[in-house]
Amino acid sequence: MTKSELINRLAERNPHLVAADAELAVKTILDAMVQNLVGGNRIEIRGFGSFSLNFRPPRVGRNPKTGEQVTVEGKHVPHFKAGKELRDRVDFKD
């Protein structure tokens, strides 16, 4: 499912809204999620999961072409942990 398919499904689900509202809603939600992560905030969506930043400490790496040692600086990377409902729903049903 792509962003435009998600917009279409939300528009179908909400026939009382104009389609442009579904598009603006999706853009608004994703934009807020990006801005909060970039700003260092956590995102916690009950039943879905949480997003936060993980720190990768600096390390000594190697340029794979030349074999030369290089210092790789520490950095933050976005991290997602699925919530219980999502975990249970995507797992195999038995």
Binding site: L6, N14, A25, A32, N41, G74, P78, V90, D91
Partner: protein, 105 residues
């Protein structure tokens, strides 16, 4: 100061910026995450450009141990969700948070 973004804040953004009423805004936020859960549950991956991709991984059964009793017991085969942030999101996060001092957890 760090804060946490929740469904309530997202709904109030939809109220302010999209002009949905409070009930519509709350339902839209709920539906947004429900459609993603629904696609993943059906085995479909979700690609949100500029944000990231949610993908499914099937993990085979592997040996495990009950950490309390030390007893060996297999961890059953399962399907799990993984998230990969887009290059754009990763680059934006790296640019703002260069060092380890902010946002350690």
């Amino acid at each position: 100061m760090t804060m946490t973004l929740t469904k309530a804040e997202l709904a109030s953004l939809l109220f302010d910026n999209v002009g949905l009423n409070k009930r519509e805004a709350k339902e839209m936020v709920e539906s947004f995450f429900e459609e993603i859960r629904d696609a993943l549950e059906k085995g479909d991956s979700v690609k949100l450009s500029g944000f990231g991709n949610f993908q499914l991984r099937e993990k085979p059964q592997r040996p495990g141990r009950n950490p309390k009793t030390g007893e060996e017991m297999p961890i059953s085969a399962r399907r799990v969700v993984t998230f990969h942030a887009s290059q754009k999101l990763k680059a934006m996060v790296e640019m703002v948070h260069a060092g380890p001092t902010d946002q350690q957890q």
